[in-house]
């Protein structure tokens, strides 16, 4: 099965209508998800979506049009329409648009997958969620919820420069959450992450999570949190677990290094960035332990692919090296504006959406320590893990994050459990205070990254390990 012909027809129609560059993505996606509550299946849904999206550059103006019709006549009409929309864009023109050079690749790529998640029996998958939520309920949860999600995407990309690329990407993941109700408040514990763990992987990922085995502990901890002392307010040493650090990377590094934000293209909605391109290569972002890479080639990580949605091959790059900001997430047009010579981070969440600069796998390289060593070397501090809430300003500087669970650290040992732990800070000041970093890296998946108008939901990966930060303000409450 191939849809190169339809994509080619759309591109040719856009060129015939006046475009100087055009590309087209045909995408077929099958989805499946199930939720369970207190030992019963709550919702089972499957989806099938097929269509094509055409991008046309007329002069220095872009147009995009998408239709759910894969006939060649519809493809040609869509190509013409994309060019017409681009022509209308010239009513309010911008500076000249160029694209950094890209090889006209002809290739095929598929993500690794041992067990096709769509081939695993529905009853098997349902039994897993039913068993996990029943186990949490039996262990004392007032509410136990479970979820799995599967995406199976095939896409064919053609550009007027000669790209012909097809990819097959399979993603899945799952999680379980236990909630306990107290007097006017609710405590929640989630395994393995606050919305589950996800990857470009087969069902073997879910099999490895042991949802059923961990669910009772989640219920126990949620119940215990109801009577745990509040995380005391103040400034202290903070040790973050790897899952929370993944979120910290996503929000305060990943979004900040998106080149479209830096250039002001997202100023009205997602926001801009505190980073200034004039400081690329010299700005101190964090301590010398901070090494952040952009790597869409990590097997199994949720932000992995063979080629981005402009046809640029997956390539590993540094974003922060020894604490210095050295790289960005870029597309072919934004890179040309910024005077950079690389792209590779443009993605769309479906055939009906315009590809835009997105995170791939943005992660922290492992450090020299272990979590046990970090705890043992901390006299007084707080340990927090598993994200519960996240908020950051439109320049990606001022953040406040909440975690599901915290513990005192006293004299090198974990002490009392703490409820409602939160911490707040300013991005570079926070990252510069990182003085210990574990080697226990996991590539956490974020399946719900929102950006763009119309809104797009991105799937991103974030390798992260536990780390320690000094002089952090914690315990902020209403």
């Amino acid at each position: 099965m191939s849809h190169f012909d339809e994509a080619s027809a759309a591109v040719q129609a856009a060129l015939d209508a006046g475009a100087r560059y055009a590309d087209c993505r045909v995408m077929l996606r099958r989805t499946e998800s199930m939720t369970a509550r207190d030992g019963d299946v709550e919702e089972l849904g499957t989806g099938e979506s097929a269509g094509l999206g055409v991008r046309a550059l007329v002069g220095s103006s872009w147009g995009f049009y998408a239709v759910p019709d894969l006939s060649e006549s519809a493809a040609r009409a869509a190509g013409r329409r994309a060019a017409q929309i681009a022509t209308a864009s010239a009513t309010v023109p911008g500076p000249p648009v160029d694209l950094v050079p890209g090889d006209a690749v002809e290739a095929s790529w598929a993500s690794s997958c041992e067990v096709d998640p769509l081939e695993v029996g529905l009853s098997t998958k349902g039994d897993l969620l039913v068993s996990a939520t029943a186990a949490a309920k039996q262990a004392g949860a007032d509410l136990a919820e479970g979820i799995y999600q599967i995406w199976d995407t095939r896409k064919w990309f053609v550009s007027s420069e000669g790209h012909r690329i097809d990819q097959h990407i399979r993603e899945c993941g799952a999680g379980v959450t236990a909630s306990a109700y107290g007097d006017g408040e609710i405590q929640r514990r989630s395994w393995p992450s606050h919305r589950g763990q996800y990857g470009t992987s087969g069902w073997e990922l879910v099999d490895g999570l042991d949802l059923v085995g961990n669910a009772p502990r989640m219920a126990d901890e949620a119940r215990a949190l109801l009577t745990a002392p509040l995380c005391p307010p103040g400034e202290t040493t903070l040790v973050l677990g790897g899952e929370q650090l993944a979120l910290q990377i996503h929000e305060s590094v990943g979004h900040a290094i998106e080149l479209d934000r830096i250039l002001g293209w997202e100023a009205a909605f997602a926001g801009t960035s505190w980073l200034d391109l004039k400081q690329l290569g010299s700005l101190r972002y964090g301590s010398e332990l901070m090494n952040i890479t952009i790597d869409p080639g990590i097997p199994g990580a949720l932000g992995s692919f063979g080629f981005d949605d402009e046809g640029t091959p997956a390539t590993k790059r540094d974003a922060v090296r020894d604490g210095i900001w050295v790289g960005v997430l870029a597309g072919r047009d934004s890179a040309a504006v910024a005077g950079l010579d690389y792209a590779g981070s443009v993605r769309s969440d479906g055939w009906s959406r315009l590809p835009m600069v997105r995170m791939t796998n943005v992660g922290l390289e492992p450090g020299p320590h272990t979590l046990d060593e970090i705890i043992a070397s901390t006299d007084d501090g707080v340990f927090m893990d598993i994200n519960r809430s996240w908020s950051i300003d439109d320049r990606r500087l001022n953040f406040q994050f909440g975690c599901e669970i915290g513990y005192e650290i006293k004299n090198g040992k974990l002490g009392r459990m703490l409820r409602n732990p939160t911490y707040t800070g300013i991005g570079p000041k926070f990252w510069q205070s990182m003085d210990m970093l574990s080697s226990e890296t996991i590539a956490w998946g974020t399946p719900n990254c929102g950006k763009g108008q119309p809104g797009q939901v991105g799937h991103t990966g974030h390798p992260a390990a536990p780390a320690r930060f000094t002089n952090v303000r914690v315990g902020v409450r209403g």
Partner: protein, 487 residues
């Protein structure tokens, strides 16, 4: 080049065909409900004062939910050819047969006529086609949107601008195997933009049922006035401040009330603050969900939900007393009540939410008279009387990135955005740099906490979804600001 208007009855025919296929594949005992929805969305986006993204799409999606032998499944497809429809049905039947038993199936909606929109004529018992639908907006061209962007940019008079102009058109039908069959259509236009000077932003935002009602120049001028008045912001210490919230910020309160408070599933699972018949808000607060529009404003939403339940106005809070929450059939069954017509494709998992909430404005006669504002005033017209009587406090334009710290108490953290000013003795004293807050939203509107409500509700688009809110300005006794630009 215009969007194509779907022929009347086309979606209902498609829905009926899917019901027939279900009977053929699964037999007459299968309970099935089908929604066919055609969405045409076009969005002209600008940044750095130029159109940089200009997109359009037209998609028909068919959603089938099935209950068969005590088991349920739902599926959707964008493939509407005969093979696609058969594939949808066969896939859903297979999924239902293989899935674990569903003990929470709420049953199908019985045949029921749509509710008439106040003052509108011509709505038959099953058709919402005349609910104020504006065809010109549905047919809007890229050129019409680009003209409004051009006007916005020009009115900002040299300031850097960014934002969007959007038009949407939805035509949909619902049918189920119990005999319910309804259809409707709606169109919406919205514009949302900022003007920027030296990194300080001002915003203007407006939604409506008619593109003709969007004046790009007026919006651009308003955003620019705010940006100019935001120059040289001072930093204030964290603490509790009296505040006037402009409608854009108030919309964020309504959004969080909808998602976490008046959400029927959260309510049934005791995760919401809402207590029916309790005096939870100041007596000045009345909140209504209004999906059907009015004589002066075309319908905002479809006249039925994805379970086929006819929609109508729903009073959530009247005079400070919580009266209702939004339900689909499942949450209603949990709570022992009836659906309010708020089912969505995701409501069984995430809960039913009100999507067209209006915080009632105060009668104009209750507001003090204030002299006309000059064109350079950064204060929204509806907020001016409230600002004029604030002794010392903050005028806040907008909120950003608000997230829940404690769902039950609805404690939210977030940041101010697009303009904050210090007010003393009713006068604007100085712009203030953005601040972080940590605040219980119901507590901010609790009995005695409201010092005034503006006399005009502004229609505002949600920045992410198609949701829309009608909000006046609000004068609140206290808002808990927990951080400033320094951290």
């Amino acid at each position: 080049m215009t969007a194509e208007i779907v022929r009347t009855g086309a979606e209902l025919e498609l829905a009926a065909r899917v019901i027939e296929l279900v009977r053929e594949v699964a037999g007459p005992a299968a309970e099935a409900e089908v929604t066919v929805r055609h969405d045409a969305e076009a969005l002209t986006r600008f940044a750095n004062s130029a159109i940089h993204q200009n997109v359009a799409e037209a998609t028909t999606t068919i959603r089938l939910r099935l209950h068969l032998d005590g088991r349920s499944a739902s599926s959707s497809t964008t493939v509407v050819e005969p093979a696609g429809l058969r594939g949808l049905v066969e896939r859903t039947v297979t999924a239902a047969r293989l899935s674990p038993p569903d003990t929470t199936w709420p049953g199908l909606t019985r045949p029921a006529p749509l509710h008439g929109s106040a003052g509108h004529h011509g709505s038959g018992p099953r058709s919402g086609l005349d609910f104020g639908f504006d065809e010109a907006t549905a047919r809007a061209t890229p050129a019409e949107r680009a003209e409004r962007v051009r006007d916005f940019v020009r009115a900002a008079d040299g300031l850097e601008t960014a934002g969007y102009c959007r038009t949407t058109y939805t035509s949909a039908a619902f049918a189920n195997s119990a005999g319910q069959a309804v259809e409707g259509r709606t169109a919406e236009a919205a514009m949302d933009g900022i003007a920027r000077l030296n990194g300080d932003d001002g915003v203007a935002r407006l939604a409506g049922g008619r593109l003709a009602g969007l004046d790009g120049a007026a919006l651009g001028a308003r955003a620019a006035a705010k940006a100019r008045a935001a120059q040289g912001p001072i930093e204030l210490p964290p603490g509790r401040y009296e505040v006037v919230l402009e409608p854009e910020a108030v919309a964020d309160l309504l959004d969080n009330f909808a998602v976490f408070g008046f959400n029927g599933k959260a309510f049934a699972q005791k995760q919401s603050f809402a207590e029916l018949e309790a005096e939870q808000f100041d007596p000045a607060v009345t909140i209504v969900d209004e999906p059907l529009g009015s004589r002066s404003e075309p319908a905002a939403g479809l006249p039925f939900d994805v379970e086929g339940t006819p929609r109508e106005s729903l009073v959530l809070v009247r005079d400070g007393v919580t009266k209702a929450v939004a339900h689909d059939r499942a949450s209603a069954a949990d709570a022992g009540t009836a659906s309010t017509g708020h089912a969505s494709p995701t409501s069984r998992s995430w809960g039913p939410m009100a999507t067209h909430m209006r915080l009632e404005a105060a009668p104009a006669a209750t507001e003090p008279e204030v002299p006309p504002a000059g064109p350079d005033s950064p204060i929204a017209e509806s907020a001016r009387p409230l600002v004029s009587r604030m002794e010392r406090g903050l005028l806040i334009t907008d909120f950003w990135y608000t997230r829940v710290l404690d769902q039950k108490a609805l404690i939210i953290t977030g940041l101010t955005r697009n303009g904050v000013w210090l007010i003393e003795n009713g006068q604007l004293v100085a712009p203030v740099s953005n601040m972080r807050f940590t605040q219980s939203y119901p507590q901010a509107l609790a009995p005695g906490a409201i010092r005034g409500i503006g006399s005009e509700s502004i229609l505002l688009p949600d920045r992410w979804s198609g949701t829309r809110y009608a909000a006046p300005a609000l004068h609140l006794a206290s808002w808990n600001l927990t951080g400033n630009a320094s951290g």
